[in-house]
Point group: C3
Chain length 160, copies 3
């Protein structure tokens, strides 16, 4: 049965603006007392990367290439529009600070403090060659069935 | 409790094709008797800009830059794919007219006639430096909590 | 009333990575016993094109152009990020094979075997000039009202 106190968000995108939107919605719902689950898949996983990841062995050549080319963590994400090689993202972060809007780093921290469940999609991690030790702590490593189990219990399910 | 007569759509994207899809779904649901709420955030706000906005004071330098670089209203939106500097959007609008598909301007007008609730995200407006006087009339200016309140009452919630 | 055994996914995007995500979720839900409906619209229709479509008459000049420029079927879709003129998509497909992840062709085949309902949006087909004979077999050709009817019966509704 649908339960008004649960929400899930699939974070597929790794664009700064979209990931920001996902965390603003997630934190807003958690602040209203909802149980929130975020399921990170594909490019969305980049938002969870540590800025200076450990050197990881056991990647194939192509996985290593993906890993080197994809952004490492919230500070490196670009905008989905008007990014201009990173200038757009810099501009947006600057305006956000001027307007006292929380940064993505702060929003992720708040999400953890509020007990938002963050799941990393293991199938995407295999494809992109991301290892748990490259991602921030406190994640659950699961497949799509776990997401679906959460979504079945929720009344709002978004794909970002 | 979920209520089969309510729908919400977050319009995050400002791409013509995606905004068109959002309004087609919203108008379709409203025509079937549903209460529909659209929550415009980030680039999606550009679909609500007046084509010839008033000169607005009180913007920071960066907000002014965002404002000048972002498209002003439905006529200026580009496609998410194959836009080719606006040519793709022109082509699509032309085919739509040939196929008697409503234009985005018409869809927005229909949405208002059908009483679809349109909410503008004030946090995004702050970041992008958009002021209420630059947007079309009849909007509600709210935060994410208002969206979540609507979504809690709805049985279909989409993020576009 | 919401029914925990139904899911719908709007496949708006024609990017390989997003279409993959849509089918992984859809197949996962179907494997758990859910009734799943996928509604293909705009670029998402390209995932359903036959690789070597028949020559089709009755297209306008612009519809013909769209048809020639859009990718024909799963093998031709690009990535939403890091596509590099198709190289990125090739890389991802290669890694997927190395990791024993099903290809999009296989996922579509599984979706059909599992009885997932696939709907093609006729309004988008008109705009893009796609004819039923250019798309794979077994689709339902419907408008947005049919999608909304399905979504009203579902407890998870995503827009990809």
């Amino acid at each position: 049965m649908a339960d008004t106190t649960r929400k899930t968000i699939i974070v597929f995108s790794g664009d700064l603006d979209k990931v920001l939107a996902a965390f603003v919605i997630a934190n807003g719902a958690a602040a209203m007392g909802d149980d929130v689950t975020m399921f990170f898949t594909f490019w969305g996983l980049n938002a969870l990367r540590k800025p200076t990841g450990p050197r990881v062995n056991g990647k194939s050549f192509l996985q290593g290439m993906f890993g080197r080319m994809m952004p490492r963590g919230p500070q490196k994400l670009g905008l989905s529009k008007m990014n201009f090689g990173g200038m757009g993202a810099k501009m947006m972060k600057l305006v956000m600070r001027q307007q006292n809007v929380s940064s993505l780093d702060e929003l992720i921290e708040t999400a953890r403090e509020q007990g938002i469940k963050m799941m990393a999609c293991t199938m995407s991690m295999d494809v992109m060659g991301l290892k748990p030790e490259e991602l921030i702590d406190g994640l659950e490593y699961v497949g799509v069935a776990s997401y679906l189990g959460e979504a079945d219990e929720a009344n709002v399910n978004l794909f970002v």
